[in-house]
Symmetry: C2
Subunit: 402 residues, 2 copies
Amino acid sequence: MLGNIKICPGYRFAGVHCGLKAGDALDLALLLSDCPAVAAAVFTKNRFPAAPVLYGRKQLVEGHNLSAVLINSGNANACTGHQGEIDVMTVAEILAAALNLSREQIFVSSTGVIGEPFPVTTVLKGIETLVSELEGEVAKAKALEAAARAIMTTDKLPKVVGIEVKTSQGLVTLTGIAKGAGMIHPDMATMLAYLLTDAEIDRQVWQAMLQRVVDKSFNRISVDGDMSTNDTVLALANGVSGCSLTSPSDLDVLENGLLQIARDLAKMIVKDGEGATKVVEITVAGASKVAEAEKICRAVANSALVKTAFFGQDANWGRIIAAVGYAGVEIKPELVNISFNQVRVVSGGVRDPGYREEDGAAVLRLPEFTVKIDLQSGEDEFTLLTSDLTHEYVSINADYRS
Amino acid sequence: MLGNIKICPGYRFAGVHCGLKAGDALDLALLLSDCPAVAAAVFTKNRFPAAPVLYGRKQLVEGHNLSAVLINSGNANACTGHQGEIDVMTVAEILAAALNLSREQIFVSSTGVIGEPFPVTTVLKGIETLVSELEGEVAKAKALEAAARAIMTTDKLPKVVGIEVKTSQGLVTLTGIAKGAGMIHPDMATMLAYLLTDAEIDRQVWQAMLQRVVDKSFNRISVDGDMSTNDTVLALANGVSGCSLTSPSDLDVLENGLLQIARDLAKMIVKDGEGATKVVEITVAGASKVAEAEKICRAVANSALVKTAFFGQDANWGRIIAAVGYAGVEIKPELVNISFNQVRVVSGGVRDPGYREEDGAAVLRLPEFTVKIDLQSGEDEFTLLTSDLTHEYVSINADYRS
């Protein structure tokens, strides 16, 4: 399935079933770097951070280079108190011992149900299987896909991207995997993403670059407005390419590459949002401040009424207007224009005289389209990707734990 | 159907079909006071206020006593620009002429689809029918119910309440009708409510009383987090009881009565929320500020994941924790307790040791229950009523205009 996705040299992968998910679904993933990698990370801002998030933040603050990432699905290890923190430490210790690394080199993520005790013995047994898998014959592309599958919760498809970029020092590879599905929201959600490169880069530069990239990619998507306790984006740079990137132009090349894979993963997350049938790009333009454009954009993207209208393929622009109106931003209603793709629907706050319902409906039938809201009050704008709200979303989330 | 609902003396009612809704569904209502009534009102804060809201605000600012209220469903007269405003004026003029009143005594409300041109001729014809209906033989209770039905959109049931309260001046009656269903949100939604009394009261006192009552009733409910362009609560006091209320104790009696009918209507709105199968009272207690309790309460009540879990009768407290955590309030996770009715689910931020899944599940199966979140960090609290998010909500809103 990976086609021409570039797999970053100097990393190995594994994904196995250890018993956290039903049946034989993969539920434990390992990403292993051949040498300690410079790490950067962005975590959820939720006030109930899960135990692995607390652990990971500490790892990053202490500035450890990382060699291995263990990720389980099926249990979030969130709201598990002190025991949850001990459990993270335990799995990190055991994995380190199995791989002949130090505990500080291990990063841990969990995703799944919140508030269940963490099944630490199940995971410990899984670690054995994982490590033996690494020594097996599985082709790298297959192993990467297995890892991407093992981190899925209600995702339908694994999310993997990989590209090469050309620097003055030579070719550098960027590979990423992610999981999304529910609780997707700007400012990070039940979203895990791992971005790997074989470039060599300074730690502070790498962290600042990741933060900018996350703000323009994963923080610009919204599925249901919820923000989870476990969201994490981790970026590793192990330098095995021998390309040490320091010049502004090389760093630009790397940042653009990182942004590309992050945006691709973010879009895959929206597309595979729980029950989603549409991917809609919402742009608010002509604002006098970016923050105001963003506020309106998020109000529209999170409106249950707007999202059900997208699902119903109903060009119900009145609901968009209502959301613009309650976003809490002072606007001039009589200046507002709205278009669906190229079709002008609203001009000056009222239905455009030339607008025909069938033109709007034709856009809404597309699997992907844009909604542009022009406030005509300034030069600033903001864009988000969102999905529709469907019966399947309700089914998935009404039955998630049963 | 009205049972022992008290109908306020000195008012007449009518509800007819004029052709705004399909079939022969009632779509035009008239509330008529025998004499000009002191008026108070609270309107939507949406930045795209509908034409009748603009008109109504002006009426209130100018301090006119009101004699008649015309309400149509089927078309919101919102985002209809200058023509929409002319149309409100036209129907007010025509109704005034038909009833031998001045235009200033007429209040107008609309609810329905946003952005469609207002079908003014259809409404004008409807006014004739309405007025002839008033002169007919329809019993008052039946006429009141017809009016309550004529203002419905996706509501399944008309919402009517009526009580008597005892003042030092004698008995006073309070009667109210409302519509809700979609776009229900604190700070007013696609919600219309008309509260009538035969007491006599000073205009300013009446306005201040209504604002307090709305804050504690209609602004404490949430169905889907949307806020419409048309929300209006109008309160009329025509004084025909002869009870002029001025003493603090009499005003208290009236305010308590007004709050009771407003809360009853608000609860009916949540119960009849689009597709709702549950009414859930969410309380955030132990906060150090009311505003913080409110912020958390609204985050939980508006979470799509929490609301689908209610629908699935799933005691998924992890989603509640997640919403508490992303509400943007500094909290101490290790102090947070959560109960469903009397069942303690979370203690100190983790699952209560004595909690059994079947106890939580038993509460979630009830049609009404409470969720109490205790932050244990202060004395302040906030309560909201909300509903669940269901397949039917999606169906209703995906197909609303088709």
